[in-house]
């Protein structure tokens, strides 16, 4: 069953040196599944997540043939209508939760705010719900955490709170943008398990954005590989080793393998033909490289 449908999505940023096409005509569908979106920094993976939620700031432009959630067309919605979608039907978990939470509001105030803006309940009810919510993401001393400020939390704790807040309005789709890359490996596992449980319990669709090919291949059902604003490869996660695109193969080979030591690591030879119509990005690259 398809929840989200994206056709020919383009994101452009006009700069002094010409227009940068951050996303160049990307199409995909997302059902009730874990879809991984992998790519290097600057490949446009975050831009896709943000474009779906209309979070690209001007002068950045979004255009698409179609972005739809179920039967509703997200492209033609007014900003007011879209407010009902953002956060309630599609929500997003960001990379570094401690920076993404409001530093001058206590955790309790922020979570209650999420409840108060999406449902009509009293403040005290919102507080009780916030407590339950924190317990649901296995935070044991929930009362103390509610009165804490973001800087008083560890990275893993803050990320759990962020996830709890985003999942609270029962969205149909969760976009997780590098939710664990700022965390330690041991904490990473716990956070991944948490997302996994929530997604499964509620039957959500998950768009998991990451630069870590290993992680995505073990965590997701399906993988899309991005390079310079285009999706160059798409496969089932368990068939990643059989990926055909030279870019995907290159990425797999240039990682040091714990089990099979090598003298030298392979490096990636970039072929200019990967990713289509990449003229303007080439131009920018020329300036910086």
């Amino acid at each position: 069953m398809t929840l989200l449908k994206v056709e020919d999505l383009q994101v452009r940023f006009p700069t002094h040196n010409g227009v940068v096409d951050a996303v160049k005509g990307v199409s995909f569908t997302l059902g009730r599944e874990r879809l991984g979106l992998v790519g290097e920094s600057g490949s446009g993976k975050t831009a896709i997540g943000r474009a779906i939620l209309r979070l690209i700031r001007p002068p950045g432009e979004i255009s698409a043939n179609r972005i739809s959630l179920g039967d509703s067309d997200l492209l033609t919605m007014s900003e007011r209508e879209f407010g009902q979608v953002r956060g309630r039907q599609i929500s997003m978990v960001l990379q570094d939760a401690r920076y993404s939470l409001n530093p001058v509001l206590s955790v309790g105030e922020q979570i209650s705010e999420a409840f108060l803006s999406h449902s009509r309940i009293s403040k005290s009810d919102a507080f009780i719900r916030s407590l339950d919510l924190l317990r649901s993401v296995s935070i044991s001393n929930a009362e103390r955490v509610l009165s804490a400020y973001p800087h008083e939390l560890s990275g893993g704790m803050a990320q759990r709170i962020m996830i709890a807040m985003m999942v609270a309005p029962q969205p149909q789709i969760l976009i997780a943008d590098e939710p664990t890359s700022a965390l330690d490996v041991s904490v990473q596992r716990k956070v991944l398990r948490l997302i996994d449980d929530l997604v499964k319990d509620r039957g959500m669709g998950l768009l998991f954005i990451s630069h870590d090919l290993n992680l995505v291949s073990e965590y997701c059902d399906r993988i899309m590989v991005m390079y310079r604003g285009a999706i160059v490869d798409e496969c089932r996660a368990n068939e990643l080793n059989r990926a055909v695109h030279p870019y995907t193969q290159g990425l797999l080979k240039c990682m040091p393998r714990f089990e099979s030591p090598v003298q030298r690591l392979q490096t990636l030879d970039r072929d200019p033909s990967w990713g289509i119509g990449s003229d303007s990005i080439e131009k920018i690259d020329h300036v910086t490289s």
Partner: protein, 260 residues
């Protein structure tokens, strides 16, 4: 080359006293490569900072080539030991060109032929002359890390302290930097002390690996033993499991949803 004996580092005043590093002892022989692995906050970077002299609150002994270090590091020390920092975006002066960064280091170490040396350094780290008059913002992350490495190599050190040199970089760029570091170690006979949380990277680069937990060095094993999984301590084994991404999501109710 390097001997650390009973090193302790503490932070804070009288009331709050945090021991970031406790009773750490290890040795790095000349020409070898030693790796320190641990979670964030385990004190691995603190050890590097203590060795290089950025932290003064320490106890224990640090010896370089048999001579014990005093609190104020000598010029000879900085000629022998250099450090490469984690974040290539934060560790270069934003308003100084590559040329100036390198020239300053060479000047401080009283080299007179800096012109020739800068050209050689840039070639050695695979950047080439066209990068000489660039500012950091005109460089990519990998290129900036190459500049940091060139800067560290400028005084011709024998020991390089590497603090997560590739954790801010993409895997494809990481491979290039790791290869560069291996090549430099071979051609210049360098000794490395590498800190990382990434076990595959440490296993690739190092001969001996130490596991850090809560400021203590819990275990030191050779890389061969590490690959075989011959660790005595549970913590080392747990860390290995965690970094192998052993966690697999189970195909569960999701597929049922799809059939509905």
């Amino acid at each position: 080359m390097l001997r650390v004996e009973n090193l302790g580092v503490w932070f804070g005043g009288r009331e709050v006293h945090i021991h970031a590093v406790k009773e750490v002892s290890f040795q790095v022989t000349t020409g070898s490569s030693f790796g320190l692995i641990g979670e964030s906050g385990s004190g691995k970077s603190t050890i590097l900072r203590a060795i290089v002299g950025l932290i003064r609150n320490l106890s224990g002994e640090i010896e370089i080539d048999g001579s014990q270090l005093c609190v104020a590091r000598s010029k000879d020390f900085y000629k022998a030991v250099q450090m490469v920092f984690q974040d290539p975006y934060g560790s270069l002066h934003p308003r100084q060109t590559v040329d100036r960064v390198l020239a300053e280091t060479l000047h401080l170490h009283e080299f007179t032929d800096s012109e020739k040396r800068i050209q050689k350094l840039l070639d050695d780290v695979g950047l080439g002359q066209e990068f000489r008059f660039r500012y950091p913002h005109q460089l990519s992350g990998g290129q900036r890390q190459r500049v940091s490495i060139a800067r560290a190599l400028a005084p011709e050190p024998r020991l390089l302290l590497l603090d997560e040199p590739t954790s801010a970089l993409d895997v494809s760029v990481q491979a290039e930097i790791l290869n560069l570091l291996s090549d430099l170690r071979e051609s210049r006979g360098l000794t490395y002390l590498l800190v990382s949380h990434d076990i595959p990277v440490v296993a690739h680069m190092c001969d001996v690996v130490g596991f850090m937990k809560h400021g203590k060095l819990v275990e030191t094993v050779s890389t061969a033993e590490l690959r075989r999984g011959n660790m005595l301590h549970d913590y080392s084994r747990d860390l290995l499991l965690a970094s192998g991404y052993e966690y697999k999501s189970q195909p569960g109710p999701l597929s049922e949803f799809n059939q509905q």
